[in-house]
Symmetry: C2
Subunit: 220 residues, 2 copies
């Protein structure tokens, strides 16, 4: 149940409405947690009922009224308690990686497109994170901000997001290039794929890897 703590952590940087939180927790932006609007509104309601956040209604002229939430003392205590006990290890769960895992048994063209698309998304996030970091540190240089700026927390998580997306982009580019090369090799001279390494698959014939129609053959 870390969503509640993610919400509390996000609200440390100032009052936010459910809607603003929802934008911050969006897939395209979130650099330390992700959640959908519905989850956030529900979690805010629970947090408020438990006294960990408090909201105040703000009426606007041109927009619907909103409720701005902030962390209460009890909420901060809870967050500190959470920060003190052990973190569960995080793990990878990515559609695209599943597809790449199966790369040798699956249509190469479609996969390459998806990997390239992901690279572009990573690039976009890199730009975004760079902008956010610049904005956070203001006039100060990075070293200086990190040493002496107030609130490094968000800066540090954003750095992780940046490094993650850079890794993502680099891997996607390399992977796309590799898959393209291998696909070209198979399409051109058919003898290019060497069979070496671990012979782990029992029912697999010698058919060339990649290419949609003739991939099958999981014998028994």
């Amino acid at each position: 149940m870390a969503l509640r703590h993610a919400v509390l952590a996000a609200l440390l940087d100032g009052e936010l409405s459910g809607y603003q939180l929802a934008k911050a927790f969006d897939v395209g932006v979130a650099n330390f947690w992700h959640a959908l609007p519905q989850q956030l509104y529900a979690e805010l309601a629970r947090l408020e009922k438990e006294g960990l956040v408090a909201g105040r209604r703000v009426v606007q002229e041109t927009r619907p009224a909103k409720r701005l939430f902030h962390v209460t003392d009890a909420g901060l205590t809870e967050l500190q308690r959470f920060a003190a006990d052990a973190s569960k290890p995080s793990f990878i769960r990515d559609d695209l990686l599943v597809k790449v895992q199966a790369a040798d048994h699956v249509d190469a063209g479609a996969l390459i497109r998806q990997v390239e698309e992901r690279a572009a998304m990573a690039e976009a996030k890199i730009d975004l994170f760079r902008r956010i970091l610049r904005k956070m540190r203001g006039d100060l240089g990075e070293e200086e901000f990190i040493r002496a700026g107030r609130r490094v927390g968000p800066y540090l998580t954003c750095l992780r997001g940046l490094a993650f997306e850079e890794g993502n982009r680099d891997w996607c580019r390399r992977t796309a290039a590799i898959l393209r090369d291998r696909n070209a090799a198979v399409a051109g001279g058919n003898a290019a794929v060497a069979g070496e390494g671990t012979p782990a698959v029992p029912g697999e014939s010698t058919a060339p890897a990649a290419r949609p129609p003739e991939v099958a053959r999981a014998g028994r």
Copy 2:
């Protein structure tokens, strides 16, 4: 519903029992998907009922009997269908990042310990992934294997896992160093933190971090 496809992808590399799958999908090992044993047994049962995998019973002398599963033609077709349609973007969801996000309002000592612990875990996974990669490519050099080896899929996902954990380790180390420095600065001369003189966190013993009441206030 990508777990089923992750299972199919994992079974492409040869027959596996539920138990072996469970080990492969464990937090400490999984480099493209993670799941608990219960989930996997349940998913295998569903997949078998739908004819996407088939299992055969293998009686062992010293160990309990097991069922080895392999992907059927229908399963491969399903996996190919999955690989062809769009991947949903992946996202970050990490306890530790939540805590770092709140770093300025939370006990520094405990947090630093956790970040260092995570760095050590990352290091262990790096070693593991390097061993796995070496084993996969056998005698071939990396470039050669990537160009001509059969089954690059698992190699590529493992490369992603490796890069991810390297990024993790580097970020954890840097973060730990930064938090240590800032903590020392606060503990030593209190004037070291620029901004509004809001000292991040008092050391291990003293009372609450960053006074709660003045958290709020965001304009507009």
